[in-house]
Every structure is written in structure tokens, then in C-alpha cells.
Amino acid sequence: MVEPSDELKISKDRSECDGCDTQCACNATHDLSPPDTNLTTGPEISNDADRRNFLKQATTITLGALSLTVLPWSRDNDDGKNVGGGSATPIVYGFLVDTEKCIGAGKCLTACRVENDVPEGYSRTWVERYIHYKDGRVEVDRVPESGYHAAGLVDIDSELIDRSYFVPKLCNHCEDAPCNQVCPVHASFTSPEGVELIDTDSCIGCAYCVQACPYGVRFVNPNTNSADKCTWCYHRITQNEKPACVEACPVDARVFGRLDDPESELNRRLAKVPHHVLREHLGTHPKLHYIGLSGEVN
């Protein structure tokens, strides 16, 4: 018998092996099968060779068939990110919110609701008001759709307040969108232009994406039983119109444009001032940027 320590030596000397009597670790051509197995079928077509051939051919057929079934359509899923609606250079859209300009008039809210048939009680975009009191408290409320005056809300005594500002919120259209990752039916997806969209025909309304979104922008629309959220008015931007909320803003607090075009108004405004994204630490890489964002906002 070969000692374990000898194995290495034997395999090294494989080329010199000439059919030794002992059990050999090399794969040389000499027959190692017990002699009595050749008795039934004769020496030419041994049972052993038959089995080996069978296994060889069966493996070839099986692997060949497997590769045929797998290859043709595993390919079409790989190139999804590189295609820009058929064009060579995909358009990449972005959005900018200037919290220093927003006056909380709520015009964008109505515009969005009317444009996108958003049912009452739900919203694709909303405006938060942060109020920093002198005693250190920070309160947040939501701008009513008709604006504060028409809603008849009592105004806060400005003597008690250090500072206060409005923060419009909408879908962040993340590059690494958590909502896409959790959708079990691929109904949540990123369009070639970088716009997060929902396939309402495929959506099963499981609301996984509603929970996955770190920004809370999604809801299940009770009329369609499908997930719903801001699409940057995809139907408008594909016709070279601005999103409804951008069109509606009387103070240009919302800017929509191309991130890949250095000459766009979006990039020109982003270049001038410091800007941030919401919850940057989550690594979702939002395409919604904020000017004048305070640290309390998330």
C-alpha cells in the first residue's frame, strides 16, 4: 500500500509510472479494474467501459440540454441598466427642491392631485413645515392643500420661534431603490431615464415597497389597488413638459431637469450652492436634491 506521505511523490512521477502492481494514485492508462469483471462480456467491450461511456454521453447530453435551456434568456436580463430607451446615451433626470424659496402656498399639492388623480387623503407629494421654538423644541406639521390661511389655522406666535421653513417632499427616485429590490413581481422598476415607475398592471398591491421606502413616499391607491407614488409626471416629461408641481410652483422652489446636461437649469443651480440629499447614509443615492436643508430634516 502507498503511504500517505508517498502520494505526492508518486503523482509527481506520474509520467514515469509504468503500471506498477500496487494501487496507484496516477491516472495512467493501465486498467485497474479487478480481472474477474471482464468474464461476462468478454475483453473487447467490458462492462466497466460500457458504464463509463454511458456516463460520459449522459453527462454530455444533460449538460448540453441544460445549457440550451439556460443561456438564451439569461442574457436578456443582464443589459437592463445600460439601455436608454434604445438610444446610445440615456437621459438622466434629476430634481431640485429649494427650501429657502418655498412659501408653503400648497399650489404644488393641488396640481399633483389633479394631474395624477390622487385620491383624497393620499398624496404623492407633501410639504412639511419645521418650526424651531426658542425652548429647543422642533415641531413638524404639514401644509394644508389650500394653504394655511384658507384652512383657517391659527398662526403661531413668531415671538416663540427661532426659525421655521418649509420642506417639500416627494419620491427621491433613488439610483439604488429599496422599493425595486423588494417587489416580488418586478412591478417597481427604474425607467431608462432614471425615473422610478410602477407597473400598475403587474402590481399585486402587497405593499412591500410601501414598507421598504425609507422616505415614506409610497401608498396603495384604493381606486386601483396598486402601489402609487410620484413619477415626476412621466407622462408630462416624456412630452417635454415639466412635472405638474414644478409648473405650479409660483416661486421656483421646485426645479426639474437633466442631471447629465451641465447646461441645464438644474445643474446650474446645483453648482452654485451647497446641496444635500435626504438620508444619505442609507446609500440609496437619491436624484432629488435639496438646497438649504437643515440637519433636522430626514
Binding site: I103, E115, D155
Partner: protein, 179 residues
């Protein structure tokens, strides 16, 4: 059975199994799925097919050119027509019909009943609530924006009836408010 026969059966089973898998896949995977990415490419079209409701000012000014002359140089050039007049989808539908066939008449704009504007409403009467939706001094507004404390402002200007809903229009017009 000979080895060849075994192989033939195996090949046949694999062929049938592969065919069945292909058929099943065609049944389960929706059309156009995977054409662009791991989603139904047709969903892009569905999203893009939504009707446009919010009318741009350009659409309004197509017929109401005179208003544009008033608004030029005004602080209200940034204010969209719909902010004060409503969305008027019905009005625009009718106006578009008139452009095609001039014998069609446009229904007169409904008087605003002070409910919040809906998709089809168009209103030509507005009151100070329309102005104050933006201009009422509110906590949170940037200092750079023109904020009005109505009570103080009316007192300063010596308004006769401070409760009058049209009090703003005694001095200002919507299209060119002036200061």
C-alpha cells in the same frame, strides 16, 4: 435494455422537459418583459399614456393674449393662470373644440362657489382668499417673500370695509398687482 436505448429515453425526456419548461415560461412571463430591463417594457407606455391635465400658461395665452400684455413686467408673471382661475379642463376641452369647429360655443365660466378648485372648474370670480393663499404672513415663509399681515395692511391703507372679500382689488389687480 441496451445502453443506447437508455440514452435515447434520457434525450427524449430532456427534450420533452425542456419544451414543457419553455411553454410554461411563455405562459407565465408577461409579454415585453425583459426587453429593456427586468420589467415589462410596456409599462413605460402605460405610464406615459396618462392624460395631461395641468394646462401650461401658454395654452391659456393662446386665446387670452391680452392678459399676457398685462402680466409682462408684473410681479405676477410667475403666477400660473390656474392658481387663481382653476384648472378649467372642461373649458379647455371646449376651447379646443372651437378651434376645430368655430360654430361650437364655449359655456360661460362657472362662478366659483369658494370650494377648492377641481379639475373641471374654471372660475372668474375670486376674492382675497385667493391672494392670501400665498401672501398671508405665515410662520415658515422666507423673509424675501412679500408677506402681508392683512389686518395691519388694511389699517395702514385706511380701507373702509376690512371685512369685504374683494377689498384687495380696490388697489390691486390680479394680473398686474403693483405695489
Amino acid at each position: 435494455m441496451s445502453a443506447t436505448r437508455h440514452l435515447q429515453i434520457l434525450a427524449l425526456l430532456l427534450l420533452l422537459g425542456g419544451g414543457a419548461a419553455l411553454q410554461l415560461r411563455n405562459m407565465l412571463v408577461p409579454a415585453t418583459f425583459g426587453e429593456i430591463g427586468t420589467y415589462r417594457a410596456a409599462a413605460l407606455g402605460t405610464n406615459a399614456a396618462h392624460p395631461l391635465t395641468f394646462p401650461s400658461d401658454a395654452r391659456c395665452l393662446k386665446c387670452h393674449e391680452d392678459v399676457q400684455e398685462e402680466r409682462v413686467e408684473s410681479l405676477h408673471t410667475v403666477v400660473r393662470c390656474v392658481h387663481c382661475h382653476g384648472f378649467g379642463a372642461e373649458h379647455i376641452t371646449q376651447a379646443t373644440a372651437v378651434e376645430v369647429d368655430s360654430s361650437v360655443t364655449i359655456a360661460s365660466a362657472q362662478d366659483w362657489d369658494h370650494h377648492f378648485p377641481t379639475k373641471v372648474d374654471l372660475f372668474i370670480t375670486y376674492d382675497r382668499a385667493t391672494c392670501l393663499a400665498c401672501h398671508q404672513a405665515t410662520v415658515g415663509m422666507p423673509d424675501s417673500f412679500l408677506q402681508i399681515n392683512v389686518a395691519e395692511h388694511l389699517e395702514d391703507q385706511g380701507a373702509e370695509d376690512v371685512e369685504d372679500v374683494n377689498v384687495c382689488f380696490e388697489c390691486h389687480t390680479g394680473h398686474s398687482p403693483g405695489l
